[in-house]
């Protein structure tokens, strides 16, 4: 019985709660039990907050009983990537340098989720400071792919995708700087939506690369994504880059056909080197869209291949500044017995950051330093303009763009750990979307012969998450991929 509960989508749980067929406390207990049983073999949670969750569940049950302020999330147990700042709950960002940090405030998205009555089961594992595509760069150990524990769950929101796939929470949130919501969603056969830059407030998510970071839902299906987006989307005075634009009710876009939609297929995303199973799954998905009434159009995004190199200048540059605040003075790790200030800084930081973060800080420092700025950073910012223009031009002829999420199915743990450049290339199809600030969704579209998930990506126009939800939903309802469960 209890596992059945955990398998259900957030929307179904919400319906059951509102029909009073089950209480939030019962649901929460079921998840707590399952996490205790299953998660040791997955490693998706960094921190569980079960006592808090049960308190929140009780409060949610009260709300439902009194029928006061009941939302589609009231009483639904979710979990958050440990990059979300949670008041009074340790927040580490997957790093040793933040071990023990107890934030004094809640971020905007977190506050909106708590206000909606969501139950917080805990904080999910991730690549340290969201830097990675395999979740192996975590100070708290790797996360394993629930579909095959020898494989990576993707990253950096690997814990979020794995926890949803393994039914260790009803839904979760991740962040996406270069693909960190969509790529693990593809790896774990979940649905992940990265909203338009500025659609959701970044206040209270720990910054990696501020001009690229966005947070968004990772869920079991498109419907849940729409419900979660309804809660977190919208302008916030605490984030100067958040967009003051009306937010539609995303559940209104849950329509089962794709009639009249023009879907662009960029030739640059089906290149040599892309895994044939991935390629054929996405091409099959394209065919499905045609059956659903969409028109397929060939488009070109000529600067695609420059997205990864531009990203690996811009993101480390911003990160090198964003991560300067971890200095051992106000919070987190502080080296023992430094004689001088410089020792305090160097020791605390060198001990606190893992190798990938350290590498990117050095790269970022380099590309911003005097004498190199123009050749690297400024040039990358200009290339960013070209990439953005590619998309704007493409969208003159289509409503959404269909691509693979990643060029291969999930890879093996350890396979790319020592070779950062190969690892970086697994984000080749997701990174351009961040550089252009566009919304993108990852929806399950198949499995490899060896049983590993494959996802498709739909890219939308600025602020047009609704079309992605509609297109994704139509595809999902016409296929069975999202219903498959890993054996655990």
């Amino acid at each position: 019985m209890s596992y059945d509960i955990c398998q259900k989508s957030a929307a179904s749980l919400s319906q059951m709660l509102q029909r009073k067929e089950i209480s939030s406390v019962e649901i929460t207990r079921a998840f707590i039990e399952r996490i205790g049983k299953i998660d040791p073999s997955i490693g998706s949670y960094i921190l569980s907050t079960f006592d808090l969750a049960l308190d929140q569940a009780k409060a949610a049950d009260e709300r439902i009983k009194k029928n006061k302020n009941v939302t589609p999330l009231t009483g639904v147990p979710i979990a958050l990537k440990d990059i979300f700042v949670t008041k009074g709950v340790e927040t580490t960002c997957g790093s040793k340098i933040l071990k023990g940090y107890v934030p004094p405030y809640n971020g905007t998205a977190v506050q909106r989720l708590l206000d909606a009555g969501a139950v917080l089961l805990g904080k999910l594992n991730m690549d340290e400071f969201a830097m990675g595509s395999s979740n192996e760069h975590s100070a708290f150990g790797p996360v394993k792919n629930p579909w095959n524990r020898d494989y990576v769950p993707g990253g950096s929101s690997g814990g979020s995708a794995a926890a949803v796939a393994a039914d260790l929470c009803a839904a979760s949130f991740g962040t996406d700087t270069g693909g960190s919501i969509r790529q693990p969603s593809s790896c774990c056969s979940t649905v992940g939506l990265k909203p338009t830059y500025g659609r959701v407030s970044r206040y209270g998510i720990i910054a990696f690369a501020s001009s690229l970071d966005q947070l968004g839902p990772i869920a079991k299906d498109v419907t849940d994504c729409a419900i979660l987006m309804n809660v977190v989307a919208g302008h916030d005075l605490n984030d100067a880059t958040s967009i003051d634009a009306p937010v539609p009710d995303y559940t209104k876009s849950l329509i089962t056909d794709a009639k009249g939609l023009k879907i662009g297929i960029p030739k640059e995303y089906f290149i040599e080197g892309i895994d044939s199973e991935v390629s054929s799954s996405v091409r099959a998905a394209a065919k499905k869209f045609k059956e659903l009434g969409a028109r397929l159009v060939d488009i070109s995004l000529p600067h695609t291949k420059y997205a990864v190199p531009a990203y690996y200048i811009i993101a480390p540059a911003e990160a090198s500044a964003n991560l300067a605040r971890y200095d051992g003075i106000r919070f987190g790790h502080r080296a023992k017995g430094p004689k001088e200030l410089i020792d305090l800084y160097q020791k605390s930081r060198t001990e606190g950051f893992g190798p990938e973060v350290t590498l990117r800080i050095i790269v970022g420092t380099y590309v911003l330093s005097s004498g190199y700025y123009d050749a690297y950073y400024l040039r990358a910012q200009k290339v960013r303009t070209l990439i953005k223009k590619d998309f704007l031009k493409a969208f003159e002829g289509c409503d959404a763009i269909l691509t693979p999420v990643m060029p291969t199915p999930p890879f093996k743990l350890g396979e790319k750990l020592e070779d950062p450049l190969t690892m970086y290339l697994s984000d080749i199809f997701t990174i351009p979307v961040n550089l252009a600030g566009l919304p993108g969704i990852s929806v399950p579209c198949g499995f490899s012969k060896s049983g590993l998930p494959i996802g498709l990506q739909l890219i939308g126009k600025p602020l047009d998450e609704a079309t992605l939800i509609r297109t994704g939903y139509a595809f999902e309802q016409a296929t069975e991929w999202h219903k498959k469960k890993p054996t655990l």
Binding site: R202, G204, A209, S211, D239, E318, A324, R325, S369
Partner: protein, 468 residues
């Protein structure tokens, strides 16, 4: 060899906003340590800055008053360096595209004015030999940095520029302008070059200049030091020097001077600051009258000499004092005279600011009024003034308490005159036979008789009449 001095000044002025530059913490300075702090200004992970509109307005006001060109688009940039008073590891400032470009102040060119955030405070006096302590209350208070061109040629030029600049900021009501309290801070770049040379010499940067005097003294010291270095065949080292007010010397900083590389780049958390023309126009309309305009008006409206007007407007508080007095008693010239002579002298002797002047403007006006009305004599007035300065009381209270009211009753004075003539028959005789120099003696005697309160004019008139 004769050298020419080249000085450029960088002023950091704290803006008088209620809240900080990027968060809603109060800017007040006298709070207990680390209480005026929030997640944003202490750089907690996940926090983001939001620009304070009033700070932008104050910077624009300053730019307009200094004839700068206000940039429609300016960009906040991160200036990266590690220091314990800088929580984020970078300061949000403006670099390539500042809010104001150019401008000038009395012949000194300005390069730029930009907005940035202040750092926290480091304290070293906790009696702990190995530790410093950090207070972030000041961290995030809005600053404008005003950078002058290398246009000053002497320490006095520098001092004058600073006083004028401070005066303008105070007039604009954008800064308290207090050097000691650190809300108006100055760093100086100084170099010397052979007279007639075009190329600038190697400069040093002077810090820790906490008063106008310190600025002038430090610059003078540094000119002497650099001259000596060059005359001895040495080279001036480009470095940052700290002024030590106690020893009267500049000191090289003991720690290794590192080549800074601030790695400025546009702050991705903040969109470009767009200042629309209408906004600038609106601010321009609301600009207060500045010192020069005020002085011109004083000359025209109150008929006082330009010299007086310049002094009276040298500080906004003084000009306000002057006009407050005029509003109570419309004798601008007399009021000006009293301020220029008596009041400013007393304040100077006392090293007091006009803002803490014990004599209220209305009381000074009242004093002048009772002189004009003949209630007290000019001589008595001096005494009353001194009393007012000491006690802060109104002239009426002082006059009443001391019974100083001038005797203007002709009957009473006539009585005294008659008595003096009667008591001094010898002198009366001599006067009448031509020894007119004795007139002063009679005036003195009558004054004595009236305890100094007799109206001098009436005494004179009566004496002349009675003595023939």
């Amino acid at each position: 060899m004769k050298y020419e001095t080249v000085i450029g000044l960088e002023v950091h002025a704290q803006l008088k906003t209620k809240s900080k530059m990027f968060c809603a913490c109060p800017t007040s300075s006298n709070l207990s340590p680390n209480t005026a702090i929030c997640p944003v200004c202490t750089g907690q992970p996940g926090t983001l800055p939001v620009v304070n509109k009033a700070a932008v307005e104050m910077a624009i006001k300053t730019g307009l008053a200094l004839k700068s060109s206000i940039q429609e688009k300016s960009v906040f940039a991160r200036k990266n360096y590690f220091y314990p008073d800088l929580p984020k590891g970078y300061q949000i400032s403006q670099h390539e595209l500042p809010l104001c470009l150019g401008g000038h102040l009395d012949g000194i060119s300005l390069i730029r004015i930009h907005l940035e955030e202040d750092a926290g405070k480091l304290l070293h006096d906790f009696g702990h030999p190995d530790m410093s302590h950090v207070d972030f209350n000041r961290c995030g208070v809005p600053l404008i940095e005003i950078v002058s061109g290398p246009d000053m040629r002497s320490p006095e030029d520098g001092g004058e520029y600073l006083r004028k600049l401070r005066n303008i900021l105070v007039y604009l009501d954008v800064c308290e302008g207090n050097l000691q309290e650190g809300n108006f801070r100055c760093d100086a770049n100084i170099s010397i070059r052979p007279e007639g040379a075009e190329k600038l010499g190697t400069r040093t940067e002077l810090k820790n200049l906490n008063s106008f005097k310190a600025v002038e003294k430090a610059l003078a010291y540094e000119i002497e030091r650099q001259t000596k270095v060059l005359n001895e065949g040495g080279k001036v080292v480009q470095e940052t020097l700290l002024w030590n007010d106690n020893t009267g010397k500049t000191e090289s900083m003991r720690t290794k001077e590192e080549a800074h590389d601030y790695r400025y780049f546009p702050d991705p958390d903040l969109l470009p600051l767009i200042v629309e023309k209408e906004w600038i126009e609106k601010i321009k309309k609301g600009l207060p009258e500045l010192a020069d305009q005020k002085a011109a008006r004083f000359v025209k409206e109150y008929g006082i000499p330009e010299y007086d007007a310049a002094i009276l407007t040298s500080e906004k508080a003084l000009a306000d004092y002057y006009e407050a007095a005029i509003s109570a008693y419309k004798e601008p010239k007399k009021i000006s005279n009293w301020i220029m002579t008596e009041l400013l002298r007393e304040l100077k002797n006392d090293s007091r600011e006009i803002s803490s002047c014990p004599i209220a403007a209305l009381n000074l006006a009242a004093l002048i009024k009772i002189i004009d009305e003949g209630v007290i004599s000019g001589k008595m007035a001096k005494e009353v003034f001194e009393d007012m300065y000491k006690s802060g009381k109104s002239p009426a209270d002082i006059v009443a308490a001391k019974g100083m009211k001038q005797v203007t009753d002709e009957g009473a004075i006539e009585e005294a005159v008659d008595k003096v003539i009667a008591d001094n028959p010898k002198q009366t005789g001599e006067y009448k036979t031509g020894k007119v120099a004795l007139f002063g003696f009679f005036v003195g005697q009558v004054m004595k008789e009236t305890k100094g309160r007799g109206n001098p004019k009436i005494i004179n008139d009566l004496l002349r009449k009675k003595l023939g």
